[in-house]
């Protein structure tokens, strides 16, 4: 096991750098998983609305109270740049300016020029908010027309619009996924990128040293067979792969609140199979790369590219059909689909047979990658001896 021992020596020497990468990626993973949320029971979408009240009247206060019931009213700075930034980065959906004279106009039943707004024109959020606002104004005006005074009309409108419509959420799922917390779901979602990042940055530098011409020639001139060298190299890498994976599973359990139900176990099994895929990618990349400076560039091309295409950072439901069709030829697509099934992301529904099928496809990719790695190392060995 001379090669394995050498592998371990180099690995220990590179340990500070490896730990640095693991630490950074683990922190990124925790930040990403905790900043994304979704919910499983039915609830209305809540818009983030900024209100600038120029009227400062009882009527404008009543309108604000009404808006607050169904939306998050956030404080806004009254400068265009701030509003523009907030709209662009989706921190705010709509900014409503209640114009001076709102109360007077409304009390006379005038509905023109009551408000001004900043919005992403033609967006869903604008449609929803304006639908709600129009309904409030119309209902209040209807009560005014019916003979009520302004205060009574606003109160009646507020009461009438508090009416709740019964909504049933039909999930079409076979199993309950409610114990699968958002943080846990997104942790495993982003793991698809993180595993490749850590594996490439921790294993490739070691393998690049082992692949140096002088060292390679010394190993090749020994009595150890090429197959044994490849096997020992893979064994050494496996220590890193398993070690990192176990560490991340432990972190995921902490992030997820410590409970391990059936769905969580299925997610862990899915990540284990994907870990084999990521290991294959890292090994194959190390056999093809010869410059340590480009490891990070390659990692980003492979890791980020596959993640964006397969729906790791952006939900698969938002990606186009053509993109998803192309993504089927990449292992991360199947990993994400399993995770979506387990967590109910992108409208996916859990199905036992699909789960096994998708796991099988990932295993197929892993086998293909490992075989490619063995073939490339064998080809390079033969090239050296010819």
């Amino acid at each position: 096991m001379q090669v394995f021992k050498t592998y371990m020596k180099i690995l220990i020497k590179n340990l500070p750098g490896t730990l640095l990468y693991i630490g950074i990626f683990a922190v990124m993973l925790i930040i990403m998983s905790t900043t994304n949320t979704s919910s499983t029971g039915y609830s209305d979408v809540t818009l983030s609305v900024g209100i600038i009240d120029e009227d400062q009247s009882d009527a404008s206060a009543a309108l604000q109270a009404y808006i607050e019931k169904t939306n998050d009213v956030v404080s806004v700075e009254q400068n265009k740049e701030w509003i523009l930034d907030a709209l662009f980065y989706e921190k705010i959906d709509y900014v409503l300016i209640i114009q001076n004279g709102y109360e007077d106009k409304l009390s006379q039943g005038i509905t023109k020029e009551l408000f001004q707004n900043y919005q992403l024109p033609g967006s869903y959020s604008s449609t929803l908010f304006e639908q709600t606002l129009d309904e409030y104004v119309k209902t209040a005006c209807a009560y005014l027309t019916g003979g009520a005074d302004l205060n009574a009309a606003l109160e009646n409108a507020d009461e009438a619009l508090a009416l709740e419509i019964p909504v049933t959420k039909e999930t079409f799922t076979e199993e309950n996924t409610t114990n699968f917390s958002d943080a846990y779901a997104y942790f495993y979602q982003f793991l698809a990128y993180i595993l490749i990042g850590i594996f490439m940055n921790s294993v490739c530098p070691v393998l690049l040293i082992l692949n140096r011409k002088e060292l390679k020639n010394r190993v090749n001139s020994s009595c150890i067979s090429q197959m044994s060298v490849t096997f020992q190299t893979m064994l050494g890498s496996a220590v890193v792969f398993f070690g990192v994976w176990i560490l991340l599973v432990i972190i995921s359990t902490i992030v997820g609140g410590g409970s391990l139900d059936k769905m969580s176990m299925l997610a862990i099994l899915n990540s284990f199979v994907y870990m084999l895929v990521a290991a294959g990618i890292a090994l194959l990349s190390s056999a093809l790369i010869s410059d340590k400076n480009i490891v990070n560039v390659v990692t980003n091309v492979v890791g980020l590219g596959m993640s964006f295409l397969c729906g790791v950072f952006v939900p698969q439901s938002l990606l186009g059909d053509g993109v998803l069709m192309a993504a089927r030829f990449l292992p991360a697509y199947w990993y994400v689909r399993v995770n979506n099934m387990l967590a109910g992301i992108s409208g996916e529904i859990y199905d036992g047979s699909s789960y096994l099928l998708f796991l099988g496809i990932q295993l197929g990719f892993a086998v293909l990658l490992f075989l490619s790695y063995i073939l490339v190392t064998r080809f390079k060995y033969q090239e050296n001896h010819s």
Partner: protein, 375 residues
């Protein structure tokens, strides 16, 4: 001597084919993938489209039918209505052909997911029921006003004026391309690192040879740094050109300034690498690790992986965005896109120039007058 060194620095940079290939390939591949993946997300997720719904009605409800007819006709229709029985409606819902089932008899709603489309359907249904309630209430109290009340509820109102904000591209997905250019710029840190490594006798054999030569160290280091900046500028120019002309990314008619900020961003990367390379006696591999980890963290905090993370950071620690090189570089593109004046853009360019000055002066201070007793 400066020009002589500069010439050879450029030749050396161009000879590192594998690194250059990947540095150019990185934005081409990722930019292409971004384009494929994000091209219709804004159109699909943000821009309103008619919502498909199924209506289940067992008894005749002419008022409801008329309202549904109104909201489902015209170019800017709210709904595309499919009238069917419950079984068919559930099949359509399961196949995601419709976003919700409206039961006209009980005025209830069944959905399979939750999102803004479902909320709009619910909001519509509530508005319909509220109107019925208002008419019923007022018909009892003030029957003489009924015509006016119905007209009030039915007429379209123009109470809300939309104020224009920008002529720029408001598709938030464009920031991924900004961050991609920022990452290419920060990858230039590897060439900057190379400059400090080949000028330190204890870190490389070339460094030892360089230190023995009679060339002024300031001149040789400065020429190497300029050579790296030129090579990095070429990479950034290629990246921006590819994004603008091949992928047709909308940089809001200010392409010249996009090139300028990209090039200056590249210099930030080069000088950052030079500065980190000048610190301490760590081996090249360790410094590469530190630089790449730092660059990646900067790009992560700037929104390369999670698009709006920069806005979250701005809410609780805005100073991070002001010193994060990747955030400054990507913000400069953003300023060009959405702001009509150049004041914010100039602020970002000045920030980058300050970073370049700090990194360069810091690097020179760390490497100047260094003596080696034995190598």
């Amino acid at each position: 001597m400066f020009l002589h060194n500069l010439k050879y620095e450029l030749i050396i940079a161009l000879h590192n084919k594998q690194f250059l290939l990947w540095l150019v390939l990185f934005p081409i591949v990722l930019g292409g993938l971004f384009k494929i993946a994000f091209s219709d997300i804004y159109e699909k997720d943000v821009v309103f489209h008619t919502i498909p719904v199924a209506v289940v009605e067992t008894t005749d409800n002419p008022v409801f039918d008329e309202v549904m007819e109104q909201v489902s006709s015209g170019e800017d229709a709210l709904f595309a209505v499919t009238k069917c029985d419950e079984e068919q409606a559930r099949t359509l819902l399961k196949q995601e052909e419709v976003k919700g089932i409206l039961y006209a008899d009980e005025l209830t709603l069944t959905v399979s997911g939750e999102g803004i489309e479902q909320t709009i359907i619910k909001s519509f249904l509530r508005a319909y029921q509220v109107r019925i309630q208002v008419i019923t209430d007022l018909a009892a109290a003030h029957p003489e006003q009924m015509d006016a009340v119905i007209a009030q509820l039915s007429d379209d109102i123009q109470s809300n004026e939309n104020l224009p904000l920008t002529d720029g591209n408001m598709d938030a997905m464009i920031q991924y391309f900004y961050n991609l250019i920022a990452m290419v710029a920060l990858f230039g840190s590897l060439t900057g690192l190379h400059v400090s490594i080949v000028n330190q006798a204890n870190l490389s054999q070339i460094g030892a040879r360089n230190n023995c030569s009679p060339v002024n160290k300031l001149v040789s280091t400065l020429s190497a740094l300029c050579g790296s900046c030129i090579a990095q500028s070429l990479c950034v120019i290629l990246t921006v050109s590819y994004l603008a002309f091949v992928l047709k990314i909308d940089f809001a008619d200010r392409l010249g300034f996009v090139y300028l900020s990209g090039i200056i961003g590249g210099w930030v990367g080069v000088t950052m690498g030079f500065f980190v390379g000048s610190i301490g006696r760590l081996a090249e591999g360790a410094k590469v690790g530190i630089l790449m980890s730092f660059s990646m963290t900067c790009c992560f905090l700037s929104g390369l992986m999670v698009g709006n993370i920069k806005a979250d950071i701005a809410a609780f620690a805005p100073w991070i965005n002001k010193i994060n090189p990747a955030a400054i570089i990507s913000d400069s593109f953003y300023c060009l896109n959405v702001y009509s004046d150049y004041s914010m853009y100039i602020e970002k360019i000045v920030s980058m120039l300050i970073l370049i000055a700090c990194f360069t002066i810091g690097g020179f201070l760390l490497t100047r007058r260094r003596k080696y007793a034995s190598l």
